[in-house]
Subunit: 196 residues, 2 copies
Amino acid sequence: MPKKVDHEKRRIQIAEATWKVIIDDGLEQASVRKIATTAGLSVGALRHYFSSQSDLLSYSMELVSNRVKQRIQTTAYNGPPLEMLTNVISELLPIDEDRRIEMEVWFVFSAKTLVDSKLESLSAAVYQEMHQGIENILRALEEFKLAKKGIDLEVEVDRLHALIDGLASHHLLHPETFTKDKMIHTLKYHLLSLCK
Amino acid sequence: MPKKVDHEKRRIQIAEATWKVIIDDGLEQASVRKIATTAGLSVGALRHYFSSQSDLLSYSMELVSNRVKQRIQTTAYNGPPLEMLTNVISELLPIDEDRRIEMEVWFVFSAKTLVDSKLESLSAAVYQEMHQGIENILRALEEFKLAKKGIDLEVEVDRLHALIDGLASHHLLHPETFTKDKMIHTLKYHLLSLCK
């Protein structure tokens, strides 16, 4: 079905143009007109792919979460377990330019969900998915017999989830003070503190 | 100097109107005109207190950080040390309506600093102040002879700082899933994990 593929490709291209406008100029500048121009389309052509600005923003936000999920699914699951788990979690951190762009967009969108209830349900769904993913990682730590005894799994999931988002936002907002190395080092230190 | 006091009072009133517009309608709606209307002033009268929108936004952001600092300075320093330190850190979390409003505004502003370099230096200064405050708290834990031996203070400051901002943002964005009780419980669990 080449037509369907092209349709989806074009939607992705428009969503990436939306990211670019958001990062360069801020969400308040992300009008349909500006996004169309950035994507090299007319407003009419863009409307063929997204019937409203709200649809377009939701899709652009969803694309961030889908990219992260795709990468986690294709992470190489080999090597020493602790290293492997660190690599999986690193997919949730702005460790390179692509991930920095995605997380910057996500951060801006998250602020927007505070005032835009249309984005809230998507944000809630992604939060739950991440939470589940982090629970899986901590369960893996137990299955590999690495975890300390007496750990409270439920609180540890909340703690690691909050820590990951805090680390990501600090590196995004203050990359020169809170460097990538510090971010990764703090994550490793935390994971080690959960191990025997 | 009653005149100077009045001037400052009026600036605070305008900054609080700015918060209200940001929380109700989003930062992209925070035009000088809308803020003036919300504050019950003419645009001309507002311009007497803030010469530009950028000045107004900077001041409104600074007011958040000053309020938090004021409260930390007036926190009752008594009771069991661990409880006292938890109370101090709680001032950095959205534990009630006033703090929720402040942190929501701060979160939106932080997203804005990613695209607005004028706000960056203020954001960097507040980040450093918070970092120093958190270092003081962890040093107090050591001085009270509560801290475990062999703790890496530098990494612990980075970890606690990221954790606090992660907890705050999770509760702000998902108050029904990640409740206030979970937020406080996770903080206490973390502090206890640093103790003997």
